[in-house]
């Protein structure tokens, strides 16, 4: 199963919510973020990785330091009360995309085999004509 990477996934964990809260005030390097939590630094890095994949933070390099910055626009996107309704349709339409792709490829295969049959029979007709005296 592919792991979901969206805003809901990003905010599902309390530590990740706290990280967003921290870096929303000011961009911070990874060590400063980790100092605010009792969990290990690798665990914090992992949470930040998830947040990056969900599009809620980005990393900016400045000299030797890596600063974590908040990207809050996706939050506003789902805060919208109609977003779950939109998402419900979007999931269905994504399934429809896959169905349409399958139908298109079936159509192409069918057309190709029809063409092949036609070419063969035309060839046969031609050969028959040539045989005639």
């Amino acid at each position: 199963m592919q792991t979901r990477r969206d805003v809901f996934q990003a905010i599902a964990d309390p530590i990740r919510r706290d990280i967003i809260g921290l870096v929303a005030r000011q961009s911070m390097n990874l060590n400063s973020i980790a100092e605010n939590f009792e969990v290990s630094r690798p665990a914090i890095s992992q949470h930040i990785k998830v947040l990056m994949e969900c599009g809620l933070v980005s990393i900016r390099r400045q000299g030797r330091e890596r600063y974590c910055e908040a990207r809050l626009a996706p939050l506003a996107d789902v805060a919208d009360w109609m977003e779950p309704f939109r998402k419900m349709w979007d999931r269905q339409f994504t399934a429809l995309d896959q169905l349409l792709d399958r139908l298109k490829s079936e159509q192409t295969t069918r057309t190709k085999s029809e063409q092949a049959t036609r070419t063969k029979s035309e060839q046969a007709t031609k050969n028959n004509k040539n045989k005639k005296p």
Partner: protein
């Protein structure tokens, strides 16, 4: 990637759903009117779809049941007012699980051909009241994302970004 966009204006009895597809119009139309195809993609929120009746002709009736993962059944029915291949489908739509009958919706589905064998779908849904429309949109919330929304609300309150501009669609 093709994005689904909504147009839901405050205080109106209608809403619009827009989506483009990388497929020719006749194929998209077929996916909406052929019951066997419809059942393959119209499964919101991990539901399974059982079609009892689906007559894609002018005046034809349809009737289908969505079963949610907990076994709950959601029954829908309506009538096809106009089936005009491959450009337009007009139908009524009613969710029979509501406490009372009569909250019917008029759906107008329009398909436009776009260059490159693409198709643009517009669904206009017209409701009997603003409350009916808002109730339908709100129902999207009840499908397992409520908890996430509460978490999000808490977070947003802390960040005070509640009044950030919300991009439409």
């Amino acid at each position: 990637m093709n994005k689904t966009t909504l147009q839901v204006e405050a205080g109106k009895q209608e809403l619009f759903i827009y989506r483009e597809f990388d497929a020719p119009r006749d194929l998209v139309f077929k996916a909406f009117t052929d019951a066997n195809l419809l059942a393959q993609w119209m499964n919101p929120c991990n539901m399974t779809m059982h079609i009892d009746e689906y007559e894609s002709v002018d005046g034809g009736a349809y009737h289908f049941t969505h079963t949610d993962p907990m076994g709950g059944k959601h029954v829908f029915r309506g009538v096809m007012h106009e089936v005009n291949a491959p450009e337009r489908l007009i139908r009524t739509f009613e969710y029979l699980n509501l406490p009372e009958r009569g909250h019917v919706v008029l759906d107008v589905l329009t398909l436009e051909s776009l260059p490159g064998n693409r198709t643009r779908l517009t669904i206009q849904s017209v409701f009997r009241s603003v409350a009916d429309r808002d109730g339908m949109v709100q129902a999207g919330m009840e499908n397992g994302v409520t908890e996430s929304h509460q978490l999000l609300d808490g977070l947003l309150a802390r960040l005070s970004v509640r009044n950030m501009a919300i991009p439409m669609g």
